[in-house]
Symmetry: C2
DNA sequence: TTTATTTAAGACTTTATACTCTTAAATCTA
DNA sequence: TAGATTTAAGAGTATAAAGTCTTAAATAAA
């Protein structure tokens, strides 16, 4: 469904959003990796993409790190997925056909197309802000 | 979402079901591969799994090939996916957590869990028979 | 200005998936 | 029985994803 790089990216963004709600500092990637039990090396690589795509702002040197480059209500899970994995999940055919036309659809199009649409809407509608509120509301949330 | 091996498997099973509606012969893997524009070698490997799991019956020698081992109404897309890819798509966490309890869920569980359930039902409910009927009904179906 | 800290970038290694080929076994037909 | 056909099984190769490491650049603080 999603690559591990993408899953890690989402978890990191949630962590950043949660932390940023309180303090507006840059958060070091090492801290994020440690707290989420991820490889620092791997996470660094992943977050670089989000920086390039304008979802994170980064700063080097002591007290450096990353922070959200936009209001958390303006960053959706779709944005993160698109940045890391591309839009294949939302556009590709369930049977793997390269070209897909509604004129000559495959045998499961009627079943798959609406589901794919639901998936798109789900991720598009879910913002870091909403997730952050969910975390505040509940007690036992795994990060 | 699905591996290419799994997509190929589904396409092959649809092809077999469609053909078997008319004649009850064994269908050679070479014929399937040619018609679906797939590698004979790769497809052979993939279909072996479906044979082992009891969804296909195979026969060697001239006029040999494969045929459905069950009524096409008894083979769902879920069965095929399970046989080739395993059940990861239907059980795994969207954030990649190994263990997942409803007691301490992740921040997107409330959104993801129902969607995963829908996906499961969709594939579980869609049988080769239903797909075959869809193909008969429509004119321009890509195989 | 020197040293420590932190991200950026690219090379590199490992692992998993995708794909190919060869040989063996089963079966039909001449 | 000999030869052709077709799947089975396993080895082998190629490509992509995952993960690691090294060096450079930016910055802060001593
Ligand atoms: S029409 Fe069929 S082939 Fe095309 S995207 Fe839809 S499901 Fe896939
Ligand atoms: S509770 Fe969260 S971590 Fe567990 S499966 Fe659901 S979405 Fe994934």
């Amino acid at each position: 469904m999603l690559t591990t790089a993408c899953k890690d990216a989402i978890r990191a963004m949630i962590y950043i959003a949660k932390k940023q709600k309180n303090i507006d500092n840059f958060i070091s990637i090492k801290e994020i990796a440690n707290n989420l039990d991820l490889s620092f090396y791997f996470l660094s690589k992943i977050l670089q993409k989000l920086v390039k795509d304008g979802f994170l702002e980064s700063y080097r040197g002591p007290n450096g790190g990353v922070k959200l480059a936009k209001p958390m209500g303006d960053i959706s899970l779709y944005d993160i997925i698109l940045s890391i994995d591309g839009d294949d999940v939302f556009t590709q055919c369930i049977l793997g056909f390269k070209e897909c036309s509604d004129i000559k659809p495959c045998a499961v199009h009627e079943k798959w197309a609406p589901e794919r649409e639901r998936l798109y809407n789900l991720f598009k509608d879910t913002t870091l802000e909403e997730i952050e509120e969910e975390i505040e509301k509940k007690i036992n949330i795994k990060l």
